[in-house]
């Protein structure tokens, strides 16, 4: 049935509108070719940017990932990794774990100041705030929380118990991730450990305080299991042991 005249209003397309479209398309075509107009996810993580950055990250770190069988397939989890000072551990570990398990892994600890904060948010960074961590865990996301950074590569720093609280509240598992990287070499490792279960059932804030100590202990045991530095030159290995 053809519509009657009264049913339709015809808005003529303005010539100016066509000019805007043409000029805009021409100018932005090269940009769109190299930077497709993908959107970011609900938390601001940009899979396209990560896809572009990953090859560069692989030039710096050759990460061996292990222990993925411990991670839940669909549910959220809080992963806690050790961190060596200035090593960018959360970034390379999150990128490597994401690629290995096929799920986005977000890391905690981006600053909230431009331009680094927004850039790290696009790489999957969350603020070191319980609300941000809880929001992600409630939506079944994998969140990587670094410990306090240490100078020694095989020492696990203290775990911020206020950031473990969201995992207790959301009822998700906590998994230690032992990481090791070299300041000069490309070789790096990220090993996921088994689910850390609390020794005591607590109703109050002691739950996360005790869990934080337990996770640090687990991490330290895993790092001890990695063994020392193995360059093939014994004196260098002894020196590296500090």
């Amino acid at each position: 049935m053809s519509p009657s005249t009264g049913d339709l209003i015809q808005f003529p397309r303005r010539a100016a509108g066509r000019v805007v479209d043409t000029v805009g398309s021409t100018i932005t075509a090269p940009v769109r070719a190299i930077w497709p107009v993908h959107s970011v996810d609900d938390f601001g993580r940009d899979p396209h940017l990560i896809g572009a950055v990953t090859p560069l990250a692989k030039l710096r770190w050759d990460v061996t990932v292990g222990g993925l069988e411990h991670l839940p397939h669909r549910k959220g989890a809080l992963l806690v990794c050790n961190s060596r000072r200035w090593s960018l551990t959360p970034i390379y570990a999150a990128l490597a774990l994401s690629e290995a398990c096929g799920r986005p892994v977000r890391f905690v600890g981006r600053p909230d100041i431009a331009p680094f904060g927004p850039l790290l948010r696009r790489l999957g960074g969350l603020l070191a705030q319980p609300a941000d961590v809880l929001g992600a865990l409630r939506h079944d996301e994998l969140v990587l929380l670094p410990t306090e950074p240490t100078a020694h590569p095989r020492h696990a720093g203290a775990v911020a118990h206020r950031l473990l609280g969201p995992a207790v509240e959301a009822g998700v598992g906590i998994y230690p991730v032992a990481t090791m990287s070299s300041a000069l070499g490309r070789t790096a490792r990220a090993e996921v450990g088994a689910h850390v279960r609390p020794r005591h059932s607590r109703r109050g804030p002691l739950a996360e305080v005790e869990l934080a100590e337990q996770v640090q202990h687990h991490l330290q045991r895993m790092l001890d299991g990695f063994g020392g530095v193995q360059t093939g030159v014994a004196p260098l290995d002894w020196l590296a042991e500090g």
Binding site: F11, V23, V31, V37, D41, I113, D132, G135
Partner: protein, 322 residues
């Protein structure tokens, strides 16, 4: 059912949807502009926000069971900041105050926005409804005041008060400063931040209001389309020319944009610099509400300007033909 703000695009959509609901008896609307859609059942009163006594008279005479308050003037959408602030304050006082005088009143649903959370340093990236309200823009402060007044009345007369915190509402005919800025030929964006934001389509927002009124919602709920987008991504999707700005030149860009008819209020600048995301999961749990369009789809619709608009009948049959 009483809809305050029925003349706006969102109010007209809400009214059209309410007319199709079997649980809605009589429907009365008030606003400063006549409804933008053909309504079959609604009774409309053309009233200025300053006509408080007349508003009180109309509302109390009707004695509604539910009031939906959409009388919110977003700065630089239909009025400048000073007028928007004044109109919103007047309308809120009159409508919420009048509603409190109605003995049959069971519930009230008020329009609010994600701007109430504010975007201060270290504020949550994706706040849920439990986040502390700390508005950092004029519009956010206006909305927080509406929530405060509605909450106070709710406690006093013991009615359910639902607060729908909408993401920026976009649609082809919605007067929105964000939509207007994004549709300019050359669109500024923050080169250092290019922060992600979420939006909601006007039809989805209207659906949420109907669901909230039906369910006698009694708490705040975020209404957000799934997904997010950055200003640069939106600009490229719309085939506009991006203009990267880093700081002080935002002032000049704002003035130029104002001159060409697309003023950039502080809450839009804040959105471009700091982003605006929110957790919308609670809307699904409490209202059974799921937006039809994702954020990137809403942005695509914003740019898909129609050549023909079908205005045959209102309600679900309204659709644009590209």
């Amino acid at each position: 059912m009483l809809v305050s703000g029925m003349g706006g695009e969102l109010g007209s959509l809400v009214a059209a949807k309410l007319e199709n609901e079997p649980w809605v008896g009589s429907l009365v609307g008030i606003d400063v502009d006549p409804p933008r859609r053909r309504l079959r059942l609604a009774e409309f009163h053309l009233l200025q926000p300053s006509q408080r006594e007349r508003i009180v008279e109309v509302v109390t005479k009707f004695n509604p069971h539910v009031v939906i308050n959409l009388s919110v003037w977003e700065p630089d959408a239909r009025a400048g900041l000073a007028h928007a602030r004044q109109f919103t304050a007047d309308a809120t006082t009159a409508v919420i105050g009048a509603a409190a005088e109605c003995p049959a009143l069971e519930g009230m649903v008020v329009r609010s926005g994600l701007e109430v959370y504010g975007r201060g340093r270290n504020s949550p990236t994706r706040p849920d409804e439990t986040a502390v309200l700390h508005p950092t823009s004029e519009y956010g402060k206006m909305l927080a005041e509406i929530e405060r007044q509605a909450r106070a009345v709710g406690r006093r007369v013991k009615i359910a008060v639902g607060k729908l915190r909408l993401a920026p509402v976009l649609g082809k005919h919605v007067p929105s400063p964000l939509g207007r800025v994004l549709r300019q030929p050359v669109v500024p964006f923050s080169a250092l931040a290019d922060a992600p934001f979420a939006v909601i389509e006007d039809g989805d927002a209207a659906t949420a209001f109907v669901a909230a009124a039906h369910g006698r919602l009694d708490e705040p709920v975020n209404i957000v389309a799934p997904g997010a987008i950055t200003a640069l991504q939106a600009i490229l999707r719309g085939h506009r020319v991006p203009l990267a700005l880093v700081g002080p030149e935002w002032w000049l860009a704002g003035k130029l944009s104002h001159m060409v008819g697309a003023p950039i209020p502080d809450h839009v600048v804040e959105l471009m610099h700091r982003g605006r995301l929110a957790d919308g999961a609670k809307a699904g749990e409490l209202l059974g509400f799921a937006p039809k369009l994702t954020t990137p789809e809403v942005i695509d619709h914003l740019y898909a300007w129609e050549s023909v608009v079908r205005i045959g009948s209102v309600g679900g049959e309204i659709e644009g033909v590209a």
